[in-house]
């Protein structure tokens, strides 16, 4: 279609070098022994870690759900406010993202620690200390804190496209605020919801820094497991590659499910 194909060459080269080749390497390592012979052992060994995989999925689902619950009303309020308020909100949401991800997570460590900010404060009232750090709860908190903007932004950008007149029309026909939300705003912001869920769920399920810093040893996630295979004492890149492969498949399945959901909405609209 485009005449000047030369323009796309650098991008193609980039894609091949940094996407296709690494993927091929992952596949190769996953299906070979350390000596380079073909094997399915690595993949079948992944089954031993099914509890880690399940807890990763579970924590990511919780974090994504809470992100959605927090972000949805906020994005809606933002999309309905005046330009200045919208810009202020946007600034507040973006501001933490200017700081390094690890620094932000370290900050949470000092807040949640046994002798951290919260427990010191509680101690003043003769309460606590509470065990907060090194719990699955702290990991979920870290996930929510770090990935919340990725939920708010896509929601907000689909919601500002919803015309004010549509909401007024629904009110005019007898819908109170909840009915307006449920029957008009939610269906029309569906693309934002699916994008937001994908953008939060995928980094959550593959994270390793958050779980290591805030979860201690209490909740090992898939990401930690993979990291261990490459950098830990259990050094086993073949198993690591196999787990990575499984993780990719899990994410692919999740995204396919989301897309199916999205498409069935479209198709419904088309067919009816």
């Amino acid at each position: 279609m485009y005449k000047n194909r030369a323009v796309s060459v650098p991008y193609l080269l980039w894609a091949v070098l940094f996407i296709v080749v690494p993927l091929g390497l992952v596949l190769y390592f996953a299906l070979t022994t350390r000596q380079g012979a073909f094997t399915l052992d690595n993949l079948s060994r992944v089954g031993e870690y099914s509890s880690v995989i399940m807890s990763s999925i579970w924590l990511s689902v919780i974090a994504t759900a809470i992100c959605l619950l927090i972000s949805y009303p906020l994005a809606f309020i933002m999309s309905r406010s005046t330009g200045n308020t919208q810009r202020t909100f946007m600034m507040l949401i973006m501001l933490p993202m200017w700081m390094n991800f690890l620094l932000r997570t370290y900050a949470w460590m000092t807040i949640l620690e046994k002798n951290g900010l919260i427990n010191q404060l509680l101690g003043k009232f003769g309460l606590g200390p509470l065990q907060m750090i090194n719990t699955p709860g702290a990991v979920v908190l870290g996930m929510i804190y770090n990935y919340l903007p990725y939920m708010i932004l896509p929601l907000y950008s689909t919601m500002i496209k919803i015309e004010k007149h549509l909401i007024e029309a629904a009110q005019d026909l007898g819908a109170n605020t909840w009915v307006v939300l449920w029957r008009v705003v939610v269906p029309l912001s569906m693309p934002g919801i699916t994008t937001g869920i994908t953008m939060v769920f995928v980094p959550c399920i593959s994270t390793f820094a958050i779980s290591r810093m805030l979860g201690g040893g209490s909740s090992m996630l898939i990401g930690d497991l993979i990291e261990l295979q490459f950098l830990g004492n259990t050094y086993n890149p073949n198993l690591g590659a196999a787990i990575s492969l499984v993780l990719m498949v899990i994410i692919l399945i999740c995204m396919a499910l989301m897309n199916m959901f999205d498409e069935s909405e479209d198709k419904e609209a088309m067919l009816l």
Binding site: E163, H165, L166, E168, A169, A170, Q171, D172, L173, G174, A175, N176, V179, R183, V184, P187, L188, A269, M270, L271, L272
Partner: protein, 349 residues
């Protein structure tokens, strides 16, 4: 107060960003009538409509519906429905679901919903379009869906905000007739906002002319056309020649350098007034026979008549006549006392 009054606006004022956009609006709207709010854009007609719909709260004044004050009543509790300017159809719902929306919200049973949506589809001639997506409809069809959707809850008042603005001329005319038919057959009140004076005259029982947030005149189309309250109304409703005049005494006015008999009285002697004469009320006669004589400057064929501009006594007179005159020729103009409308000068413009 008339017993037939359904909606009453009392001393309504609205401020927007510290600016007053509606001033002291007083308006009574009769039950089952077709009332049009007419005016140029920015005159406050849509805001007035939105006050009745409940989308704008008046800064001052009261809104009464059927005798009860409804200032604070949210839109979803009012017996009023709206056809929005750009239709505002729900893009995620098909034609049937759009019309059904109001019933679902009110938790009407499935069976009854089906019957009532069917009724509405018949009313707006959209049978067979149930499953269509609203994005596949033409402007006129979307318009019909919007009307059906707004009427499904059997409102007592339908508000229409420039509903025909986006349609082409022929479709507009068709929809005008259709809207009037729907209003008559359902026997409900229509409040219609438009800037098109012809639309207002042909459809309404009552026309309310607005400008700069003020009601200039309210009355039947005949009243408004024949007895405009001031030069602005006269000019806005149909075309007119507006010239400066001086009232010499009752029934005698001076303009264009000579005296004319007229039918107006009650002005101060020597009061400066606007004299309004409709282009179709000026009769073209041989130059010696007329009260005023002038030179024809231009002639434009308009279909039913010719529109001529005649330069006389320092004014350009617009004349509508079925007979064309030659450009550059001298013609006489004759105006009968009945066709001379005397108006007070509008205050400080």
């Amino acid at each position: 107060m008339n017993e037939n009054v359904l909606i009453s606006l009392r001393n309504i004022a609205v401020d927007f960003d510290g600016e007053r956009i509606l001033h002291n609006i007083n308006l009574d709207i009769n039950d089952k009538e077709f009332v049009t709010l007419l005016g140029p854009s920015g005159c406050g007609k849509t805001t007035t409509l939105r006050i009745i719909g409940g989308f704008v709260e008046p800064t001052e004044g009261d809104v009464f519906f059927d005798g009860a004050k409804i200032n604070d009543l949210p839109p979803y509790k009012r017996q009023v429905n709206t056809v929005f300017q750009r239709y505002a159809l729900f893009p995620h719902l098909n034609v049937y679901e759009n019309i059904e929306f109001g019933l679902k919200v009110h938790k009407v049973e499935e069976k009854e919903r089906r019957v009532r949506v069917r009724e509405m589809l018949d009313l707006v001639n959209l049978r067979g379009f149930e499953r269509r997506s609203v994005n596949q409809l033409s402007g006129g069809q979307q318009q019909r869906v919007a009307i059906a959707r707004a009427l499904i809850n059997h409102p007592r008042v339908l508000l229409l905000d420039e509903p025909l603005g986006a349609l082409d001329l022929k479709l507009r005319k068709e929809m005008q007739v259709e809207l009037k038919r729907i209003q008559k057959s359902l026997e409900i009140t229509f409040i219609y906002v438009t800037h098109d004076q012809e639309e207002a005259l042909t459809m309404s029982d009552q026309v309310v002319v607005m400008k700069d947030g003020v009601i200039l005149q309210s009355g039947t189309p005949q009243d408004i056309y024949n007895e405009p309250a001031n030069a602005f109304v006269a000019d806005f409703i149909g075309e007119s020649n507006i010239v400066d005049g001086i009232m010499l005494r009752d029934f005698l006015v001076e303009f264009a350098g000579r005296e004319f008999e007229c039918v107006d009285s009650g002005f101060d002697p020597k009061q400066r007034v606007d004299v309004v004469i409709r282009p179709e009320d000026i009769k073209v006669v041989p130059s010696i026979a007329g009260q005023i004589a002038g030179v024809v400057e231009s002639v434009i064929f308009k279909g039913v008549h010719y529109e001529m501009i005649v330069d006389a006594c320092g004014y350009k007179w617009m004349i509508h006549s079925t007979q064309a005159q030659e450009i550059g020729s001298m013609v006489g103009m004759e105006i009968t006392p009945n066709d001379i409308h005397i108006m007070h000068k509008m205050e400080a413009e």
